[in-house]
């Protein structure tokens, strides 16, 4: 395992194996879920016969699976680097993986055996009112599966919180408040501490909201008289979903802060702008979620306006601090390019680029004609596929590197360029389809829409081929002897 990072404290061999276990699960599940995604696009494009019930089941599995696996990949990165700064409990790390896998089994069973197809967002009261498509037990098992995954992450964050507090004494110190509001940046916590603290705060709040609505939904499934306010339920679900998926990026970007500087020879030091950006992001990621509810006209108008404004401002830290920070770090640095550094650089670009269509869609008057069209998967696939997931791939290459490694193969490099080109082609096809008003989450498309589906499917297939190379090469490199 590569130990060349900004942080230098070693982590135990057992913990390293658990991290590798996380990445192995990530690689395998990502590839499988990408095949699910391809299947959806092929079905919409009329290239494979995909009945509506199966299409929506695949949609549900793809959505919830991708959200969960993004979390797992992000957690692996955060834990790996945080463990070099504070004393983490590797048993909790293992427990989270166990709960995740148990949750996945329940979710897959609920979807493909129980026919549950309530989408990953499980908007109340759809789980209990399927129109005869699935049984109550299937919906409840799905909810329990998601709940188990959430509990695992909550335990993980409680452990990271305990460890950070033990070292820094308070969350505000770990967020760098003394330096941010003081005159000296000396003794500021390193980026991994700031990022991990921010994530533990936001994700704990998000997960509690998610757990509460999941439990209420389970009760409603078996006791319909226990009704929930539909707007409250929607707020809780989108707060949880928005925070969790953003936390996956905030965890994964730690790989950029920790690894990329070792390639450029320019350490990524905590600065005042860095602290301001992360503390501001903490507030904004919690406050921005109403931008998912811009078409809920009964929401308080001030909350929806806040959603638009927060959408604009929350893009600033990404672009001005992390994006520009990476450019400055890499610019004329004499960087050694390989798969790890290349993927992390590409990932930063993907995150930054994805902010643009997200901000555009966060504008209320634009949202009125783009909401729930394919523009939405267009922008989130940009910063999740080319951003977050690419950070995980870069970390996989980093972890699997060996001291005797002479470099990457031609196949790796070919896969990199295919992935870069195809993933942009794939996401741009979604955005173009959104511009053409094509709805998202439609099992069947009109004849005039299928051409874009077919182009999207072509790029998706190329992405999968490249990802299979990344994943297989990860296992191959891990399996090689440690010495030449």
């Amino acid at each position: 395992m590569n130990t060349n990072t900004q942080s230098s404290l070693p982590i135990s061999a057992g913990a390293q194996k658990v991290v590798i276990g996380y990445l192995a699960v990530c690689g395998a599940v990502l590839a499988l879920l990408m095949v699910f995604g391809l299947l959806l696009r092929l079905g919409q494009g009329g290239m494979v016969p995909l009945p509506a019930d199966l299409s929506y089941q695949v949609l549900t599995a793809h959505g919830i699976g991708m959200v969960g696996i993004s979390g797992l990949g992000g957690a692996a990165i955060m834990w790996y680097f945080l463990a070099r700064q504070v004393a983490l409990n590797s048993s909790i790390l293992l427990l989270n993986l166990g709960l995740f896998l148990l949750g996945v089994v329940l979710i897959l069973g609920a979807v493909f055996i129980g026919d549950f197809a309530g989408a990953w967002t499980f908007l109340y009261p759809l789980p209990a009112q399927s129109g005869g498509a699935w049984e109550a037990h299937a919906a409840a098992i799905y909810m329990v599966g998601v709940l188990l995954v959430g509990v695992g992450f909550l335990l993980l964050h409680l452990d990271t919180g305990w460890a950070i507090l033990s070292r820094y004494g308070s969350l505000t110190k770990a967020l760098g408040w003394p330096q941010m509001f003081g005159t000296s940046i000396d003794d500021a916590p390193p980026p991994v501490i700031v990022a991990s603290t921010m994530v533990l705060i936001i994700n704990t709040l998000g997960l509690i909201s998610g757990a509460a609505i999941l439990v209420m939904t389970i009760v409603n499934i078996y006791m319909p008289s226990f009704a929930i306010d539909a707007l409250l339920a929607k707020n809780m679900i989108f707060f949880f979903g928005h925070v969790f998926i953003n936390a996956t990026i905030y965890m994964a970007v730690i790989a950029v802060y920790e690894i990329l500087p070792t390639y450029t020879g320019r350490p990524w030091k905590t600065s005042k702008p860095f602290l301001i950006a992360w503390n501001a992001s903490l507030i904004m990621v919690l406050a921005v979620y109403p931008h998912h509810l811009l078409m809920d006209f009964v929401m308080p108008t001030w909350a929806l306006i806040l959603g638009q404004i927060m959408s604009y401002t929350s893009g600033l830290p990404v672009l001005v601090v992390t994006g520009l920070g990476v450019l400055i770090n890499v610019s004329r640095s004499g960087i050694r390019w390989d798969m790890t550094s290349g993927l992390l650089f590409l990932a930063t670009l993907g995150w930054a680029v994805g902010v643009v269509p997200a901000i555009v869609d966060g504008t209320i008057v634009v949202n009125a004609v783009l909401h729930n069209t394919l523009w939405v998967p267009g922008h989130f696939h940009t910063y999740l596929l080319i951003g977050q997931t690419t950070m995980v791939f870069g970390f996989m290459y980093f972890v699997a590197a060996r001291p005797d490694s002479s470099g990457d193969t031609t196949l790796d490099r070919l896969a990199f360029w295919v992935f870069a080109a195809a993933s942009f082609g794939f996401t741009m096809t979604f955005l173009y389809a959104g511009k053409a008003s094509i709805p998202r989450r439609f099992a069947e498309h009109l004849p005039q829409w299928t051409g874009q589906d077919q182009v999207g499917a072509f790029f998706a297939a190329l992405v999968i081929v490249a990802v299979l190379v990344f994943v297989i090469r990860f296992f191959v490199r891990l399996g090689r002897p440690k010495t030449a």
């Binding site: 929506y56 759809l126 702008p273 006209f297 108008t301 680029v353 269509p357 504008t363």
Partner: protein, 173 residues
């Protein structure tokens, strides 16, 4: 509006790709980092203020004409149509309106969440609001062109989601 959204997105996404590509292309040459970091810090400050200065008027302009109903319910000049979503159909109290006539769609649902989306005859999305059980969203829209408009559901509502549609006939005055 969709064209504007697309063009703005392409412009700034492309700009970012070009900047990253230029930096990557020149990255193998090694230069002293001190000057770069100092210049980068200044660039960060400038970029931050450019974005703030640009976003404030954009926010101001785009927030000036929101699609939400006025707090007092409007002038009372609009035609009222009730739209009720159920798995998997729409029930409209009326489906005939005149060009230029403001229409207030009072949108609700009997079972689960739906979305009331108006598509023109070219299948271009022109307006939408959520359709929720227990709530009524009021969507005011004025049709500019005659023709047959489609109502689709844009919020996933179960296995018949994609088949949930209705029509509105917009006629000349």
């Amino acid at each position: 509006m969709q064209e504007i959204a697309w063009n703005i997105s392409i412009l700034f996404m492309g700009l970012l790709v070009v900047v990253f590509a230029v930096v990557a292309a020149g990255s193998r040459v090694q230069a002293a980092s001190g000057v770069l970091i100092s210049a980068g810090g200044k660039l960060r400050t400038v970029l931050f203020w450019i974005l703030i200065v640009a976003l404030v008027p954009i926010a101001w302009l785009t927030l000036a004409d929101l699609p939400y109903p006025p707090p007092n319910g409007g002038t009372g000049q609009a035609k009222e149509i009730k739209a009720v979503g159920s798995q998997w159909s729409w029930e409209l109290s009326d489906n005939k309106v005149a060009v230029g006539q403001a229409v207030d769609f009072h949108v609700t649902a009997t079972d689960v969440n739906h979305s009331f989306a108006i598509y023109d005859s070219q299948y271009r999305l022109v307006a939408q609001t959520q359709s929720m059980p227990g709530y009524t969203n009021v969507l005011r829209h004025t049709f500019d062109e005659p023709g047959t408009y489609k109502i689709l559901c844009l919020e996933y509502c179960g296995l018949g989601h994609h088949e949930m549609s209705a029509e509105i006939n917009v006629v000349k005055r």
